[in-house]
Symmetry: C2
Subunit: 278 residues, 2 copies
Amino acid sequence: MKPKLINSIEEMSTVCRQLKGKIGFVPTMGFLHAGHLSLVSEAKRKTDIVIVSIYVNPTQFSANEDLSSYPRNIERDIELLTNLDVDYIFFPTDEQMYPDGYKTWLNVDKITQVLCGRSRPTHFRGVITIVAKLMNIIDPDLMFMGEKDFQQLVVLKQMIKDLNFRTKIVGCPIIREKDGLALSSRNKYLSYSGRKKALCLNKSLLLAQKLFNRGIISSNKIISQMTDLIEENECIIDYIEVFDQNTLEHIPKLISGSRIALAVIVENTRLIDNIKIL
Amino acid sequence: MKPKLINSIEEMSTVCRQLKGKIGFVPTMGFLHAGHLSLVSEAKRKTDIVIVSIYVNPTQFSANEDLSSYPRNIERDIELLTNLDVDYIFFPTDEQMYPDGYKTWLNVDKITQVLCGRSRPTHFRGVITIVAKLMNIIDPDLMFMGEKDFQQLVVLKQMIKDLNFRTKIVGCPIIREKDGLALSSRNKYLSYSGRKKALCLNKSLLLAQKLFNRGIISSNKIISQMTDLIEENECIIDYIEVFDQNTLEHIPKLISGSRIALAVIVENTRLIDNIKIL
């Protein structure tokens, strides 16, 4: 059956309050790929009613970022979600989400200032705020998010815990192309040669695991070799960081369970990826 | 019947999710007076289940304020709430509300920076954050708050609207002693002569109404006469402000429906009061 499309906040909220059964929620910015669809499938497995939101949230983009060019294809998204038997698609307008005179913001200290927060200082404020709004509208039991935006996952878990939201987050593994490139709506921006260069993100993470397997545990040494690999591919590093995956704090020496994340600019596109060191 | 006392967030949240009927919520910092009790009575009238929280929220006090000396009397509070047939009293601990590593804050732009926000720059951040937490735990249909903290009422209404909380705020009128002093837990700090001086807050507001009735509409002229009256009583003015009661923006000329608010230091106690000009 085709999912019910809802664009009114009022209607979505009323519908959700009347639903019986466990609500699973997958927030997205649309232009869905297999990564999103894996979240939806997991939601279908774990809950009774699945709601997917499609909303390109303007407040998580800064003025110099790609809000206006961010890829959109709502017809195709609806088709994909219909195939997965999603119950509701929520796609509100900017005017509803941020009406004139909008003034309220959420923020999480410290862990929003590191990693992606350094080059995108207002990004997480926008993410946290929109997710709090969506949780209030939908009141889901479980919310499904990918580990590709690993910092986002940690930040939102902290927010949910701190503010006593009843929703639990389910983190889901990164989905990759066969050649290892992590799926991202922004991959669409890449040229043929850019697409090849972009493999250096995943390759450098696999290199880190290989070095760790050989007994190299110095974060600096590992980052240095990852840097070489990425720069050989003519990509520009925003950051490479080795950190504790609960606190996001830098660690000088890797242990099993540490995480390495990176942001790299390929052509003009900023891509992110990460790995849990085993 | 005695209200059920709950101090665990987990338990309060679970209980609230299972309640049938309209939930009315009155957040307080305890040391209840007739002002609080009027909110509880209104909640009893308008809802099926009434929950009162008693929690002296540390994050709305700044370092130089009266957190440690803020008056407390939980036994008396329970007695008063038992008399009013309240269903649940929620009194969590600081350790539960702000556990180690707590990091999340809400804020509302602009309207938290004026009036009380000028001399208490972090106050509203604390208020908004704790109220969001309490709303997430209790999920009330209606929340009852007094108009004495008029700015708080406006700020929380904005936050609830912006973040799509389903809860509606019911603003309730200021309750006064027979001689006009607005009820406040902080009145307890006043000496016998301070108690008399404190009447100048309400008197100056009534003077404003009288001047307006006589055709004087200049905010400056009215504030000037209020200032004289307060200073004659050896009290120190933090602010006197004439503003639009929806936007909290200063207005140079009073109209019917404008609000005047003031904060005045009597002895060492900062008191607030306000009036809607009719």
